[in-house]
Symmetry: C2
Subunit: 255 residues, 2 copies
């Protein structure tokens, strides 16, 4: 049994509570957060506290707070005896206090309020400075996920950048699509099966093989027509930069 | 029973053959295509021919060929007595010969070789010039899909443009993500659960509510770091134009 503390009350913290509870091999001793109101949602999982000084002993303390708060919050735990880890994709392991045993536990998934994620399928990228700590982290990760990877801070930085493209930017393209639908009185609902199939295709096709559309065909007539349809300057820019990038990409045989 | 002919041997033609066969209320009489080798795959569904002049009588003839071939190929069918329809998102109904009864049957989905689509869930956008033809098209569409919409040529043009953003451009962002992974020796597999969840979120959240990431938080430090990491000029441009567009988008409460 691994004993754990969670710092933070956001979506990652909540999903971790649920995953630790379900797996049966992690004893969640405590959740600490600044907001007493939000902490109430965590009382079903562990003891809660708003005082960072009141941290109990445990094997691992998971700092699941926003990227820019990791360094300041972790300073409260320089006397903590367990393994201190954060869950961020873009923050180096060295951002944690040098006095501590430290590591990273980055679940590569998007967590939203009200959506419970099946942690079993979430890739967890782990990193630790000492071998014994790495083993502990590995056991912790494998107790909730079937997909655990040893990833260095440098590799994690790249993964996080790639994730910005496939998640944050993709989501914004959905918003542009919705905007175009609204302006032309067609329901965005019509695009949802297409959005899902575009993602599902990645199970069996590489993105290079799956690429279709006017830019892939170098169909200048359709591209010019689209640019004329777009009235929004920023949307035109996005259209142009993505179309140019697709046009410059090497593909196999002509579709 | 509606009798039908299909012109074309691509992925849309193949998926339509399968859907017509499954529904039991469409009699597919004939498939016509130029390539005798590819036509062999269609012999299980109907009679096949490589000669456009040999078209048999039917209620509906579906021209499922690439956008730029619709006008030239449809000229072979000026004597056809049934309803002539094409399946394109970006071609107007008037592209078909003026001598014919004509319409559009646009299945808003991405069709790939080797992936069979459940047509029941594919939104079909239909348009016809005459009321009686519209009724026939509606019956045809409803025999294979639960999601049928009356959409004008103008609306369809907008839907097609929106589809380029959520499908073609999104797929290219996946390719950029894969490229970043490759360059940094991390498996692209790690991003696949994130790709799928990003799309699935649209079932329950609007893209505006689902937006996260450094651009949404206006986290200049992370954004500058990412731009420094990106060596590819086109990728930098895509990063900048999407980040600017996210930054200019109005959101509700701060995340």
């Amino acid at each position: 049994m691994i004993s754990a503390t969670i710092i933070g009350t956001g979506n990652v913290a909540m999903n971790l509570c649920e995953a630790f509870k379900l797996c049966g091999s992690v004893l969640l001793k405590q959740v600490i957060g600044r907001n007493p109101k939000v902490l109430e949602n965590f009382q079903a999982y562990a003891k809660t506290s708003t005082d960072f000084k009141m941290i109990l002993d445990s094997d691992v303390c998971v700092i699941a707070v926003s990227d820019d708060s990791i360094t300041s919050i972790s300073k409260h735990f320089t006397n903590y005896n367990g393994l201190l880890i954060h869950t961020s994709g873009s923050v180096a392991v060295h951002a944690l206090p040098k006095e501590c045993r430290k590591g990273v536990f980055y679940p590569l998934q998007t967590f939203s309020n009200g959506r419970t994620i099946d942690f079993n399928k979430v890739p967890i990228c782990i990193e630790a400075e000492e071998e014994v700590d790495f083993e502990l982290l590995k056991n912790l990760a494998e107790s909730i996920s079937r997909s655990v990877f040893k990833i260095s801070s440098e590799q994690r930085r790249s993964l996080h950048l790639a994730a910005v493209f496939v998640n944050n930017f993709t989501n914004h393209l959905y918003e542009v699509g919705q905007h175009i639908c609204r302006e032309n009185n067609v329901p965005f609902e019509l695009l949802k099966p297409l959005i899902l199939e575009t993602a599902k295709k990645m199970e069996s096709l590489s993105p290079n093989k799956a690429q279709t559309g006017p830019a892939r065909r170098r169909d200048k007539k359709t591209i010019d027509g689209h640019l004329e349809q777009l009235k929004n300057k920023k949307q035109k820019e996005i259209y142009k930069s993505l179309t140019e990038s697709i046009t410059e990409t090497p593909y196999g045989k002509k579709l």
